[in-house]
Symmetry: D2
Subunit: 269 residues, 4 copies
């Protein structure tokens, strides 16, 4: 996401119609982009600033927004495994990472979480992203290239439950089916006092993961979920939305310590 | 938060006792740190790695963790105005900022949000942080210095409802009582297509802010809240915690556009 | 819902297929009931006990359940205005009503709430149910007859915002667009110390209603919402459902008093 | 809760100070009731209507409310095991009970749930309430007497996990540590098509209970929790309360059927 403020050939733009419909597209010369609201001509935006309005052939307004991190996350989604920007945001926060961090992540999936991590470790950090499936990783790389973040990621087609190659890493961030199998490897890979963060949809997964973390002397272990509630904000009619996503998953985090962990398990909070 | 992996004189460490009790302290030679569980001697950790265990004079174990961003946020709290790491994480995400971003923030308060923003814009971005109260800003600067992030922040003792000095900024992030008064200034200060994010506890505030954003042609305007639920994770006894924080505030975000905003207000989502 | 334990001609049964599909039907001699899973013959259940299994012409099992109150509530729904069993249950509880109570309700709508109230005031109480629309009341009466509760309800085609005919009532229960207009009438109709309960989807409605209640000297005024979360319970895969209803409405309740209400408005809860 | 509208000697009244402080007391002639806001004299309310105001010796207003069901539930609480009116309301609704129902309940505890059940089965139903602890049952009887509902309850000092004496019951309602052990007995005791409802705080309990119910051919089995959120309703400052109860327990319900239960476990909802 480097800073080229006017839209150029090759730039990605988010063509925004309304809160439910927007399109992440690459601007190409002499090309028309077709939607059910008519087509827009990319030549009309080349040289313009982000935020400019386009009128489609059917007279409908689109706004050419600069794609930001949440857009790349939303658009990287596969149906089979959705990571929500809210969960990505919280995993980033509780991992404690930032510019310059060296991170291990698994699984790569379609690269939604990878994109966020890569964005925040710039310009001199690195994300080592493990996945056993090369087909997912090809999609992830395509998504990372759209966000111009591929050079901050080392995609590794390996089974992370068998081990982590890296050492002295600043954080290990997991979104896979069996995180508890990775906990001992994460403990070996992490610098002292640093964070392991894991995302899992089911209770069974969090119980096994928390037990594995306690067994490996992690401290400050805690699990939470974030329930996100959209509001309809209209004067005189303000209220929460009728429909909402009831559950995505639980986030578990903790920190590597050298002490024998005899902390009271009730003191999770 | 630069990378000095062994603990040295002058380093900050998080002395961790359990999930409810930890202390963010500066290590000084020949100094004892007193707690209700006895004292620890800083000389014992100088030269050690983060994550090492200390035994207090009463035989209680403390872990000397490296303070991470969520710790600086928690420890920067004033009772009068609490910004939660969850809300900070979501504001950072929906602002679309990252390393190199130029951000306007108000109010500074005790610097909890400022610390997070500064951490993520490193090494070549900048946070312009407005507050009318110099006493808060002194506390904020103290907190920023603990996190070694003060050089990424320009603290301005000014009333942001009267105007924003900066232009071409990547995001405007608000946590103050009357965000709607800042919306026109934010529109003037922002680059095209970039984000305004605002945090407010009450319904009245979000209605006024959303209306001001629509009046100023922001698009993709949405408001949500994040309800965070801690889990007690113990095999056979797993359940959500009995007590939880029911509400911190609503997060509203949207993007600057040049079009006349005739979007259907129902399409918020 | 009188007690005729074997299924007879004229009985209502809930033909249960699975948690998403069930049918509230009246048993008639020599009649086939057609579903997308084949037809079942009512003659097969006449004389059987509730809970018996029927095999459809396509070999699919249906269970002939006795319809209970929540079934009548679900099946009375119109798309335009849904009252959920959870909200009905909480309104009944906070109204303090029970067998013998004399209740005023508005609006009747399709009779979902009316059905619940009638069920609980049996055998010697009465529900006075106001609605301005006779078409809704016809539907409500039809639904009440299915539950054999019509004799406990007096359906009145009147605008309750203009006044309540009854006096010395045990509770006033409102589910209509402008409850604040009914508050003074409710105060006049209620016995001392008894409850007004109101259901409204929007913030604006609850603010106006709570203000009207304080103006009319109601005490113990409180507003809450109930967020209902379904669980997927399968060993090893237990978790909240992905989709949920995010909001139905707020429930406000309070009690008629004769004192001048100078209670601290912060003390709500 | 019979209908004696003016307050008499021996009546119970709820002396209401504010939403956080109220007292359920028995009115006695020539007696003073002492609070930290001064004393009130019961002679002042004898002969008055419910809802009347009393001025304490320190000039503070109290309202003499008629105690309603939710008051009896709140005031019956023991610290060790809290049943919330919201959960009682939902258990009553999903049990499908009403006036005339014959119910089995366990454990009695302090009688909070028992009080609600007794109130709703009046005037010709009955609650058979099992508990192994006679000390709890003495407290429960005391609480039932306050609400004048003891004649609708048969308190049995027996271990319900060993069997249920009653047959042809309309509902079995459980709030005890091991509900899964009661499921087969509930199946034997229930009329066809009727409901078993169980309340449990932990995931482990609901998994075992749901499995036991499926094994015993219950259909329409579902588990949910109700998260109750109080609102602060003040014009211009409306918002959810900061603190809330995050979890009380899960409610599981289902109906007795005679079919072999081959329903898809995913279809819960």
């Amino acid at each position: 996401m480097p800073d080229c403020e006017s839209i150029r050939e090759g730039s990605f733009v988010l063509l925004f119609l309304d809160n439910r419909r927007s399109y992440l597209v690459r601007v190409e010369k002499s090309v028309k982009f077709h939607t059910h609201k008519g087509f827009v001509e990319f030549d009309d935006v080349i040289g313009e600033e982000y935020g400019t309005t386009l009128i489609s052939s059917l007279g409908v307004e689109f706004v050419a927004l600069k794609p930001l991190l949440p857009d790349f996350i939303y658009k990287a989604q596969r149906k089979s495994q959705i990571t929500y920007p809210k969960d990505v945001a919280l995993m980033v926060m509780f991992s404690g990472i930032g510019p310059g961090s060296k991170i291990v992540e698994a699984g790569t999936g379609a690269g939604a979480l990878t994109t966020a991590l890569a964005s925040y470790v710039r310009p001199d950090g690195c994300v080592y992203s493990y996945d056993i499936r090369s087909d997912f990783q090809r999609i992830a790389l395509k998504n990372l290239r759209k966000a111009q973040l591929e050079r901050f990621v080392d995609v590794k087609q390996k089974d992370i439950t068998l081990g982590i190659d890296e050492t002295d890493v600043d954080a290990v961030i997991l979104d896979l089916a069996t995180p508890w199998l990775v906990v001992p490897h994460a403990s070996a890979a992490l610098k002292g006092g640093r964070s392991l963060v894991s995302f899992s949809p089911t209770i069974d997964q969090i119980v096994k993961t928390v037990e594995a973390m306690r067994d490996c002397n992690f401290v400050n272990v805690a699990t939470f979920e974030c329930i996100m509630r959209q509001m309809q904000v209209i004067r005189g009619k303000t209220r929460p939305h009728t429909l909402m996503t009831g559950h995505t998953g639980y986030i578990t985090h903790g920190r590597k310590a050298s002490r024998s962990n005899d902390e009271d398990p009730e003191n999770v909070g």
